[in-house]
């Protein structure tokens, strides 16, 4: 069955990752799966951009990384939201809502 995958606008990936982690620490594959599922299979994060994005977020201090044991007993790198990450999530989410609301208003202009 054809997946109608939408291309993610630039900068939105950060927002999604932050949100995904807001519910608890996860490793990269789990984040990718969760986003795919929750978006009702609409979003398929291009796997090539996931890890650079994760590392970038780590560098900015919004998420923290720690090695742990996965659910199938293998070594995996877990990411967790930091306090500044939580703040950033709120700010970015707010900006997103405002932007989309504004765009919708224009589109509904008739």
């Amino acid at each position: 069955m054809t997946d109608e995958k939408l291309d993610l606008p630039q900068g939105t990936l950060n927002l999604l990752i932050l949100k995904a982690l807001s519910l608890g620490p996860q490793h990269g594959w789990a984040i990718s799966e969760r986003l795919h599922q929750v978006s009702r299979a609409t979003l398929q994060v291009p796997q090539g951009s996931l890890y650079p994005a994760l590392h970038r977020l780590e560098r900015r201090g919004w998420i923290r990384a720690e090695w742990g044991v996965s659910e199938n007993n293998r070594r995996a790198k877990y990411y967790e939201l930091s306090r500044s990450g939580r703040k950033q999530l709120a700010v970015a989410a707010d900006q997103w809502h405002r932007l989309t609301t504004a765009v919708s208003l224009v589109l509904d202009m008739g």
Binding site: G28, G48, Y51, P52, G61, R75
Partner: protein
């Protein structure tokens, strides 16, 4: 935002320091993902190997992704900095006014610091120009309080005491005597030259760790055989007066009328511990009566610590030896013992007053730099406001804030370094123009407090801008950039995205209120505060200087020329001296334009005059603590007229007061007030010193002359006639009738003096330098 910067830094550091670990981690992380993906496909029914392949393909180019991740940790230092630099240069070019103002401000601020630090470094920090200077110590005698002076711990040695010390000591590997002198070098055709010289022990150079570049060092026998006539030349003397001729070794030169054989030339730049010596003579040239007398103290001692000996060991050894020396040659009249003490040579670099002066100066210019930084910070803040749009655009297209701050800081660093380079140029020019020559340094010292003490002349003549100074300047520039650059950079990057893009005007207003405004206000008030401190301090200093200059000095220095003269020692006969002096004065007075001429033995305001005690016949011994010291001056009758010192009572010295007539004295006001508070001193007879002068009658009282420094109180002085106690050297004072033709007067008087003395004593040239 600061926390972002911080974690960015940490991330990059980790990337550099633990590259392998991170590489392995990256590999594991991506591999884990692919495995889980493969498992997912396998669970859906795909065969194991097909699942793996599918997962890998779905993931994409593994290496490319790894590279992207690696890039995040990469610190593209050089590339990024270069881009930043180019961008900054372009930016600065576009606003030439701003750039010029900033660079000028920084040049003044940093340049002043460079100049003063050069002085501070030379005076206090630079290691002395000798071999292993930290092992060099000075050794001095300690005296109890005598003649009303406080106890001293820097007293000179007598030669017999030194010899005893040298024999018994075990802590120094080398030690040598040294003392400063002036020597006249005679030339065949040119007029004689007055040189600073040092009379030193034979292993002086070895102790300091320097060696001649031509010829040989003094030998051991030159340290023990009396009357040896060898000399060591300085490099500058050699190149200047003897043409740098390598065959100078073995030649003879005439010094102070005697012949000396040149044994060597010292290395370039070495001027001995006095910092000014041009020629070195072995200690054995000293008059035998001085060398043998245990109570004639004229030598300083420098020593090198033996291997493995600590300073503390040396200090206790010297103290013990000092007691032994004092027992062998007791010097004290009232039983208080003398002793010996040793100190690192470096501790005597400069006297405390000079050290204080330099440190105060350094604090002052540091404040000036602070003011300059505040200025530049304000300029940058203003410029930041004007660039909000640019910053906003850059943020919008994805530049991270740390990157932006880095770029702005690069700009600050660029400004700082351009300012520093201009500053170094300014410092170099000002040091070159304002730094006095050696003789200038000496007069500066004379007017601020006596002889250049310790190694002051040595260290101050080595002021220059070298590597250490340049390093300091670079550090100062970075510091300055930090001070003035951080706040504006941080501010400029703290731009709310949507707010600014809306309208530039609004953005400006936004930045003008609230936080930013307080920041600017803080800068301005801070700057005014610091500037006020510096201004007030300057005002107070100028006022003090003004007071000093306005102090009465007791004589009229305008239009008075001073000449130092020195008659050669072994040609001099005591009986002939008054005649020589008479003729000299006659000839000089005959020079047109000369109003008056006289001779004195030490100059006012020079601080190095002789002192002795006054002895009363007509009263009981003074209570202990009552100072009976008087300054002793030998003058010719016209002294008062030449220097315009007022005669208050009685009569001045007359030409008729000579060697064969009754001895007469003048005293100054301070002496009259001190010793005869209720009496008239005129007509009283007093003894002067314990030596050959004996007693004299007081015939007049003169006004106080300042012989010490301007801010010292006048001492009691006594004046005896030069004609009654002649000496082979002294000062010739000449008052010119008018201000013009100073140079001519100087030359004429000098020539006259020299010629006269020469005529009187036969065909000899004598040293006479005019000032």
């Amino acid at each position: 935002m600061l926390s972002e910067f911080w974690s960015d830094l940490r991330y990059r550091l980790r990337a550099i320091l633990r590259r392998d670990v991170l590489e392995r981690d990256l590999d594991d992380e991506l591999r884990f993902h692919i495995e889980r993906e493969a498992e997912k496909y396998a669970a859906e029914g795909l065969r194991r190997d097909r699942a793996s392949r599918r997962a890998r393909v779905a993931f994409g180019g593994l290496d490319q992704i790894k590279e992207k991740c690696r890039d995040l940790g990469r610190v593209n230092l050089i590339e990024d900095r270069w881009k930043d630099l180019r961008h900054s240069v372009r930016g600065l070019r576009r606003s030439p006014g701003f750039t010029a103002a900033t660079i000028l401000t920084l040049a003044l601020g940093i340049g002043a610091n460079t100049a003063v630090f050069s002085i501070l470094h030379a005076a206090l920090l630079r290691p002395l120009p000798f071999d292993e200077p930290e092992r060099l110590m000075s050794v001095a005698l300690t005296t109890p309080s005598r003649f009303g002076q406080p106890p001293r711990d820097d007293f000179s040695w007598s030669y017999p005491k030194f010899e005893l010390f040298r024999e018994d000591q075990r802590v120094f590997s080398d030690l040598a005597v040294h003392t400063t002198e002036t020597t006249t070098l005679e030339h065949l055709e040119d007029p004689p030259e007055r040189l600073s010289s040092e009379v030193v022990g034979a292993n002086y150079f070895r102790t300091l760790g320097v060696a001649p570049i031509v010829g040989r060092d003094f030998s051991a026998e030159e340290d023990t055989t009396q009357g040896v006539q060898v000399a060591m030349l300085s490099h500058s003397l050699w190149t200047r007066s003897l043409n740098g001729d390598p065959s100078v070794v073995g030649q003879t030169v005439r010094l102070d009328g005697r012949l000396f054989e040149v044994v060597g030339v010292m290395e370039r730049g070495f001027r001995g511990l006095s910092g000014a010596a041009e020629i070195w003579l072995p200690s054995m040239v000293t008059d035998p009566s001085d060398l043998d007398d245990p109570q004639t103290h004229s030598f300083s001692v420098v020593a090198r610590l033996g291997p493995g000996i600590s300073r503390e060991q040396a200090q206790s050894a010297v103290r013990a030896l000092g007691e032994r020396v004092d027992r062998a040659f007791p010097s004290s009249s009232d039983g208080e013992p003398w002793g010996a003490i040793t100190r690192p040579l470096n501790a005597e670099r400069v006297d405390p007053m000079l050290r204080r002066t330099v440190l105060v100066l350094f604090s002052a210019v540091s404040l000036v730099l602070l003011i300059a930084c505040t200025n530049v910070a304000s300029l940058l803040l203003a410029r930041g406001t004007a660039r909000t749009r640019e910053v906003a655009v850059r943020l919008a297209i994805g530049a991270s804030r740390p990157r932006l701050v880095r770029q702005l800081l690069t700009e600050s660093l660029l400004l700082a370094f351009l300012g520093a380079m201009a500053g170094i140029l300014l410092a170099w020019i000002s040091l070159y123009l304002l730094l006095p020559t050696e003789s200038g340094l000496r007069s500066v010292f004379a007017s601020i407090g006596g002889d250049p003490s310790g190694l002051s002349l040595l260290v101050l003549s080595s002021i220059r801008i070298d590597g250490a100074i340049l390093f300091f300047t670079a550090v100062a520039a970075c510091l300055a950039a930090g001070i003035f650059g951080v706040v504006p950079a941080w501010r400029a990057s703290k731009v709310g995205l949507s707010k600014t893009l809306r309208s530039g005007e609004e953005a400006v207003r936004a930045l003008g209120h609230g936080r930013a405004f307080t920041g600017r206000g803080l800068l301005v008030s801070g700057e005014i505060a610091v500037a006020l401190v510096v201004l007030i301090a300057t005002g107070l200093t100028l006022r003090s200087l003004d007071n000093l200059l306005a102090s009465p000095i007791g004589f009229e220095p305008e239009r008075v020329l001073t000449l130092r003269f020195l008659l050669p020692l072994d040609e001099y006969e005591a009986e002939a001296a008054p005649l020589v002096v008479d003729q000299m004065l006659e000839t000089v007075r005959a020079v047109p334009g000369v109003e008056a001429a006289a001779i004195g033995n030490c100059s006012p305001l020079s601080g190095d005059c002789n002192a002795t005690t006054i002895i009363f016949r007509d009263r009981p011994p003074a209570a202990p603590g009552f100072d009976e010291t008087i300054g002793l001056h030998q003058i010719t009758p016209d002294y008062l007229k030449t220097l315009q010192v007022p005669l208050l009572e009685g009569r001045a010295l007359e030409p008729t007061d000579r060697g064969d007539t009754r001895k007469v004295l003048l005293i100054n006001e301070s002496a009259a007030r001190r010793f005869w508070p209720n009496d008239n001193p005129i007509g009283k007879i007093v003894g002067v010193g314990a030596g050959s002068f004996g007693e004299g009658e007081i015939v007049g009282i003169v006004g106080d002359l300042r012989y010490g420094t301007i801010d010292e109180a006048s001492r009691p002085d006594v004046f005896i006639s030069y004609l009654q106690t002649p000496r082979p050297n002294g000062f010739l004072y000449v008052r010119a009738a008018s201000r013009s033709d100073r140079g001519r007067r100087r030359g004429a008087a000098g020539a006259a003096g020299g010629r006269t003395a020469g005529d009187a004593l036969g065909h000899k040239e004598h040293g006479a330098t005019g000032r």
